[in-house]
């Protein structure tokens, strides 16, 4: 979905645009599956809570923590994608400003903080490097007061943690291929030709994430 006013720069990807208020659900914590370490999962929850604080209290401290963690990573991501240092710095500042301004659109039952930030950074990248806008899918028509299921939020955040681990544990060669696809503008036909692309290896992870997402969207 591309709104007129946003098309010029920070269009927010649609799966994340479900404008539902949902943060009160985050106060209740459910049990955690054993295969996710406490630290990793706690970190994801933590970023979700930070975004919630920005939305509800314009909490500068929460923003500083997110900035300290994500801004250098986003900058690294943009430089890997072909931006020079000055452009990467400027775009990262834009991305972080967008995070503050659009905090109310973040849906933790459909994306982790890192995923949401990735989508903002990707769109900013297309805008800055290619001078193009990126058409976004139409948003799903959520009810105005719909709260996300806390179980969905938890499951999604844990799946994301798992996915990150699965990528970390991939053989170096496969990891490089995925990074090439995301950072280096590998075209889809090139992706299809890269026979070594570990889509199969990580497919089970993706499929799990997919089930969670599909469930969350019902």
């Amino acid at each position: 979905m591309l709104r007129e006013a946003e098309s010029e720069s920070h269009s927010i990807p649609s799966p994340l645009m479900a404008g539902r208020a949902r943060y009160s659900a985050m106060q209740r914590q459910g049990p955690r599956p054993k295969n996710v370490t406490k630290k990793d999962a706690a970190e994801n929850d933590d970023w979700v809570t930070c975004i919630q604080r920005i939305r509800e209290n314009e909490d500068r401290q929460a923003f500083e923590r997110l900035f300290g963690h994500f801004a250098p990573r986003v900058k690294g991501f943009l430089m890997k994608s072909g931006a020079d240092e000055a452009m990467a710095e400027e775009c990262t500042q834009d991305v972080m400003a967008t995070l503050w301004q659009k905090a109310h659109l973040f849906d933790p039952s459909r994306a982790s903080a890192a995923t949401w930030i990735f989508t903002i950074a990707r769109n900013r990248k297309i805008d800055a490097l290619r001078k193009q806008k990126r058409p976004e899918p139409e948003d799903l028509p959520w009810g105005p007061d719909e709260e996300p299921d806390q179980a969905d939020v938890l499951a999604l955040q844990q799946e994301t943690t798992q996915l990150g681990k699965a990528i970390k544990n991939l053989p170096e060669k496969q990891k490089v291929l995925i990074e090439k696809a995301y950072f280096r503008d590998l075209s889809h036909s090139e992706i299809a030709e890269e026979t070594g692309l570990p889509l199969g290896t990580i497919k089970s992870r993706i499929r799990l994430a997919l089930d969670r997402l599909r469930h969350a969207m019902k």
Binding site: L2, Q93, P137, T160
Partner: protein, 215 residues
């Protein structure tokens, strides 16, 4: 409607859309299909998660001194009021509405012969997005592809050598496919098609017309 969709996007296209490496015309067609298809929406969400995991694991590059303060300073400016999301009211998904500038009645069709009409949409020139109008029972001339062609059915349906395609279905064609899409007899067919290279028509006349019609 979404349960009836049989033809979906490939992993490599969804991944490239998520990564942001496709031309605008492809992005538009994929965004339109995802708007209609929950299955591909979920798969896209998974690929976005992959991008998120890569950012999380990405090498840090230190921000400039005073960077945080600069952002905080910017945030003091009044925000633009939030836009209301646009929903399609029928067969044109919201991302496509933006390019047409309205619904189907706003399309400026141009005849390309035998009742078939097209409208080229304004995208970057590295690929072309067009709306195709195929009258019930009519055929698009037999053609092959030099690159990739995505064809998304918005209304009606068509059949070619591969299969039958109804509303929401997307056909991914590459160099190996020569096909003659024929619209079903019951209803006119309207498609959104993206190509990254000119089509190759078999007959002489369409080939002569090609440079003028940009197909």
């Amino acid at each position: 409607m979404t349960e009836q969709i049989k033809h979906h996007l490939t992993d490599s296209l969804l991944m490239a859309y998520s990564a942001g490496s496709l031309p605008e015309a492809f992005n538009l067609t994929i965004a339109a299909h995802v708007s209609m298809c929950d299955e591909c929406r979920a798969r896209l969400g998974a690929f976005d998660s992959l991008g998120g995991a890569l950012v999380e694991g990405s090498e840090s590059v230190e921000m400039s001194a005073g960077s945080l303060e600069a952002v905080m300073e910017r945030l003091k400016a009044p925000e633009r009021p939030a836009e209301k999301p646009i929903y399609s009211n029928g067969i044109v998904p919201a991302p496509l509405r933006d390019y047409i500038g309205g619904d189907l009645d706003a399309v400026r069709w141009k005849s390309i012969g035998m009742g078939v009409k097209q409208a080229i949409l304004p995208t970057s020139r590295d690929a072309t997005a067009r709306l195709l109008f195929i009258p019930a029972g009519a055929a698009v001339p037999d053609h092959g592809h030099r690159g990739t062609e995505l064809t998304l059915v918005l209304k009606g349906s068509f059949a070619d050598e591969v299969d039958h395609f109804g509303p929401g279905d997307i056909e991914v064609a590459n160099e190996d496919l020569n096909h003659t899409p024929v619209a079903d007899i019951g209803e006119d067919c309207i498609c959104l098609a993206a190509t990254d290279a000119p089509l190759k028509f078999k007959g002489l006349i369409p080939r002569l017309a090609q440079p003028f019609l940009r197909i």
